[in-house]
Structures are given as C-alpha cells and as structure tokens.
Symmetry: C2
Subunit: 404 residues, 2 copies
C-alpha cells in the first residue's frame, strides 16, 4: 500500500461489490448466506449489493437451493451475456481473436494470417477482425466492455504505446491510442508474455499467494511475473526478459546484440538454425529428410521430431536448449522463489521428453534448499491462451460492475 | 489485494492513523491543514485522529506556524521517546544492537564479538545485549515496542524459525520463540539481507514505486527484494539468492554444493581464497607482504588494497569478482527491472574503483532497452545498517499506534 493511500467508502463499496461478484462467478450458483460468510460481510450488506447487481442485470436468481431448516434460499448466478470482453493476440504469423462472456467462457474465436507488419495495415486488420468477431457472436456492441490487445515487445505501461517490437520492426507506435480511434469501447494494449500468463492462470489460480512466473518458449523466449496484486512490470515495464540472460560468456550471437543469451540457443528459431548450420556442414541427420533437402524449410518441430526418433544431431541440439532453459529457470527460482512456473508456447507442444530434460537441468542448477516448493507445470490453454489473456486483462482492469 | 480481502471501518481508521503519523514523521513539523491535504482527508477527520495521538502522547504541539491570513496554525511533531524499537544484527564475527526512538533516530548502539555459535549461548548473548542496551539508553521497558533480529540464513516466515544457517551450522532452531521466552516485548526474526536492505532504504525511499533490490556483498553474497507493499519473500521465503546464480558451468566449487556460483568467486571469502591459492603457487604479489608471509591472514581488504596499488594478481582477482557480480546484477535487471539496486556490505567499502568495474560489467551483460531507468547506488548506512533494519522492521510491522 502506498504511504498515503486513502481508503474511503467508495473504495469499500467497489471492493465489496467486486468480491461478491467474483464469489458468485467462482461458485457458479450460490446463496446469499454463503456469500456473506465467504466475503466476510453481513447478510443485509450482501443483499444490498446483490439487489443492485440483479437490478443491473449482471446477476440473476437461477433457482432455489436446499433448505437448512427454514425456507429454501435463492441461488444467484452471473448473467453470461450481460458483458463481453474481446482479446486479440497479435502474432508475427497470425492474429487471433476471442470473445469472452461475463461467465468467462470463450463464445467465439478466430485466427487469420498476419497480413502485414505495417502499423496502419495491422491496426486495420485488428479493428476489422474485432468488429467481425463481435458481429459473428451476435451480441450488442454496447455490452462489450473492451478489447485487450497482446503485442510482442516492449509496451509503455498506461499508454499502451509500443516502444520497441523487434519481431514487427516497430518503434514508438501509439497502438492503444490508434485503436481507440477506431473502436467504441475500452482498449488496453499489453505485452504478449504478460497476456499469455494471465490466459494460463485464469482458472486455476488468479490470485497467487506469492508469485507465478509464466515462461513463453516459442519463436523467442520471454516471461511474465504475477504477484498477489497482479502483473509485475518493473520501473520501465521491461521485467521478465529471461530469454536475454547470458548463460555462456562467449556463446552464440543473439538478436539483442549480446552473446550467449538463453534465446540465442534455446528459442524455436535458434533450434532450427543450429540444425541448418550442422546439416549444411554435412552432419548426418534425419532432419535432412524431413525438410526434403531444403534447409530453409527446417523448423523447430522437425528437430524435436527427429530427437524423439533418436537422431543424434537433433538430440544434442534439443539437450543444449533444455540445459539453457533450465539454467534460466534455476536463476528465476533462486531469485524469486515462485510458487509456480508455467511453461507455455510452441516448444512445450513437443512433449514430455523436452519438459523432463528442462526439469533435470533445473535441479542441476538450482540452489539447494532454495525454492523447495516450486512447481514446474506446462500451460494448458493452447493456441488461444494469449488472446484469452487479453480478454481477462480487460475483465480484471475495467470496473464494469459500476456501470449502469 | 486478495480476492476476498475485506475492507472495514477499522482498517480505514488504522490506515488513516498510520498515514497521518507517517506524514508528521516525514515532515518533522507540520500543521493539520497540510496533513489533510497530503493524506486526502478532511480537516475534522485529521483533527479527530491527531487529538487521539496527542492524548496518547505519541505526537505533540511543538509550536505555531506561519499565518496564511487567519490565526497561526499549530505545528505537530512526533514525541521522540514515546516508543522505542530495538534492532539486533547477529553476525558470524560480531553482534550489533541499536535502539531507535519513535523519530527513527538511533539513540544507542553497541557491538560485541560473537561469543558462540551454540544456539543457547547466542540466544543468551542477544538477550543480555538487548536488555543492557535498553538499560543504557535509560528508557522505561514498557515503551519498547519490540526487537527485530537479523539472522543470516533461511528463516521461516511468520514463525521466525531458522531453517538453515550455514554460517552458524544451525538447522531448525526456533529462534523467535526462544527469544520471546526471555524478552517482555514483541520479537521478530528476519533474514539478514532483508534487514540490511530495509536499513538502507529507510530514509530515502521506504515505499518504492516498483522495486528496490539490495545486494549484500560481504563474507557471502545475498540480496533482498522490496516491492511497493514491503519485503518480497517468495513461497518458501528463499527469494533473493543472487549469490548462488551459476555464471560459469565448470567454475569453482561453492559452499552450496554447486560449481560456478557468483559467490564462489566474488564473495569476500572467495577473493581472499583466490589470492591464497595463487601466492601458494608462487605468483608474485604485494599481498604476500601485506599478510607478512602468513597466507592464512589474507583477507579481501588486503587484495583490494593491493589491486588499488596496481598489483597484477590482485587486480585480476578483483576484476573477475566484479565481472561475476555484474552478471548477477544484469540478470536481476533483465528479470525485475528495479528502480534501484543498492550495493551494501564489506566489499563496497573498497572504493569507487570496484563499483565502477561492476557497473561496466553490468552494461556489458544487460539487455539493450531493458531496465533503462535502473540506478545502481552504494548503501550509506554503514556497519549498523543491518541492526537498524531490524529496528525498522519492528516499526513497520507492529501496529504500535493503536496501543493505549
């Protein structure tokens, strides 16, 4: 809490209302007495807020529960289609959009190839796909709370300006402001790694007791840190750059300008490149057959497939990648002692053998006694996790309950 | 904020009272109208709380301020000797105790050699030095809010139990409970790195806007992370183990059981050891004269002094240490993007040349664009910083304002 944070009656009401709403959302069906117990308020106080939420059409009486002696209590539930949240994952190869209702169910999703990396054209594509998705899901526009846009790169906090996005070659693009000109609701632009971790933890543990780190193992390598009060940013918003930890002094050149970064050896792009170089140097490998002799076609999946089949070159490339990633996770554990590390992204789709290699490397590099309670798990939200995270960021950050 | 955190009128009152007290503490002398403006309360609300604090003897009217038209407003100030906080730094070579008054001034301090590492004997020494310090400072015992004990090693949060302290050879010692049996006030046991960083940031920036990392460069190497709502612990309380980040795969053996940790090359102990090994192997160095030919006497200070004088061996040892530390700080910046890194501990006393080497290494290993606003500074609180931090931890965590 800031030193002079003022708590007043408005913030109490708003806090109580959100607690009660989240309580109903989590329980799906619940009576007022149980809500009162869970949120620590009196039954009359709960009634006053639930009456207001019913009147606003945000919750409704879904039926009657079991009697515990007296008359059967009313069960309350969230009205699914009172509010909607849109999430957009702006990827280098595809743009994904989801529409999420107020029960946090995804009611519509779509993916299209990224048409252009030019800011104007990409902004048009985002706008069009968003409006099409809302039309397709057939819900009135005035029920859309907002859109959360997940963008790779360095995003200025608050303004949603893209300071630097190497994958798109963007510098200083006011993405959030531009989208606001085209869209008639709230727009929030967030770093893609942060959206991804929110998309992953949404159902299991939206409020960690200490810290959750989500690590995105894909074309590049990044991470996001979630603390009990939400996403952690750092003073400039650049926290979580796990991919650019240097683990080898005279290692490979990395796109960031340094040498020996984790990303320079362990990213999907690096794994494919290492195979390409080795095969061009006449090293025997079944990857050569998989790419049909066209080295440019080699991707990380081919290398993982070959490694699973016992190919020596592919195995050594994948093992080195796992070792680098394991070092990065061990460092994260030493420094942050998180309760959970969630591995996400394309590289985690290659199966348990890679995850097992990573875990083995972590235990080799982790400090004894440190981080004894850390769980390393694999994300489960699939290809739309980042877009879903974008929608959740809107739901978490816009006070839609106070609207009329 | 936890999902179902309840805000009630008691928490508002307590929060407002603490805001007003901190406001007076910070300003030293201040009138009620300015307080009201700073904390965002009405003047009558401020009056009600300041009247209560005056009645309890916690603040008093120190005089009258300048008139801004009407009559001259009363200036309020904190009563220095209404409450006291004791801090104890339990080091491997010495035990330091400070007594701090309610204006946060250190009114008494003392240091004695650590008599024993046996738990019972050390607990006796802490108890005796604490009671002696209170007697010496001639303040009534019932004004002592509590004692904050800074202990190296892994401390269980909440219980203050020492899970593991390698420097003392302790496993599973209920230090906080044992001290409570001997002392008639609150006892809080905290990890020494966390106490040190609190001791350093107390005056300048007690509530960081994002994150402050304090790094203790001494006999060992550790760190503590401070977030806007206070010290960060992690799920098991083991966060901040920067010294055991592995920066060289086949590096030196480290006391933690791994190889190539930052601490294995860059700690005060490692710097002295490297010089001992080299000189035993007949490498020419002025450190040999400094230790008068007795290699066992070599300590880090001798190596730093020799390096400053241009000794080649000493320079290469110190440069390697700075390089390792710089890597650890660059990793910290990539991951946490803190607003400030405070370097503390014995090694920082060797002067600017070492700090400059570290900063150079940081800029070599830091990711471009990441952590652009991080300031690396040297702690200023001297040898008693850790003990002072212990006293602040009591002041920050015990709600002494609500007592009668």
């Amino acid at each position: 809490m800031d030193k002079f944070t003022k708590l007043d009656l408005n913030s109490i009401t708003s806090n109580n209302r959100m607690n009660i709403f989240n309580c109903i959302l989590e329980a799906k069906e619940i009576n007022r007495a149980v809500i009162a117990k869970k949120v620590g308020l009196s039954i009359p106080a709960v009634m006053s807020i639930t009456d207001d939420l019913i009147q606003k059409g945000i919750i409704y009486v879904i039926g009657k529960g079991k009697s515990s002696g007296g008359k059967r209590p009313e069960l309350l539930a969230v009205v699914p289609d009172r509010f909607f949240f849109v999430g957009v994952d702006v990827g280098r190869t595809s743009v994904r959009v989801v529409v999420m209702n107020n029960c946090r169910d995804v009611v519509y999703k779509v993916s299209k190839p990224t048409e252009s990396v030019e800011p104007d054209e990409l902004i048009n594509q985002i706008t069009e796909m968003t409006m099409e998705s809302i039309n397709e899901s057939k819900f009135p526009l005035d029920r859309v709370v907002g859109i959360g846009v997940a963008m790779p790169g360095l995003i200025e906090r608050g303004t949603g300006r893209v300071i630097f996005s190497p994958n798109f070659g963007w510098n200083n693009i006011a993405l959030q402001d531009e989208l606001k000109k085209h869209l008639p609701f709230n727009v929030l632009v967030e770093n893609a790694n942060r959206a991804l971790v929110i998309g992953e933890i949404k159902n299991t543990q939206p409020n960690p007791t200490s810290c959750i780190v989500g690590v995105n193992l894909g074309y590049g390598i990044g991470s996001a840190i979630v603390l009990p009060n939400g996403l952690y940013y750092g003073v400039s918003g650049t926290s979580g750059e796990i991919g650019h930890i240097i683990v080898e002094n005279h290692g490979s050149y990395c796109s960031c300008g340094n040498y020996g970064c984790i990303e320079s050896i362990a990213s999907g792009e690096a794994i494919a490149r290492e195979a390409r170089i080795a095969i061009a140097n006449k090293i025997q490998s079944s990857v050569f057959e998989k790419c049909e002799g066209d080295l440019k076609k080699i991707d990380a999946k081919m290398v993982f497939d070959a490694a699973k089949e016992g190919d020596h070159l592919a195995q050594s490339i994948v093992e080195k990648a796992a070792d680098y990633i394991g070092k990065g996770l061990a460092i994260t554990i030493n420094m942050l002692d998180p309760e959970q590390i969630i591995l996400c992204g394309g590289l985690t789709l290659s199966g348990d053998f890679f995850i097992d290699m990573i875990k083995k490397a972590v235990s080799k590099y982790q400090m004894r006694y440190a981080g004894g309670n850390v769980k390393i798990v694999v994300g489960k939200s699939g290809l739309y996790a980042t877009a879903i995270g974008g929608a959740w960021i809107v739901a978490n950050n816009i006070d839609f309950l106070s609207s009329n």
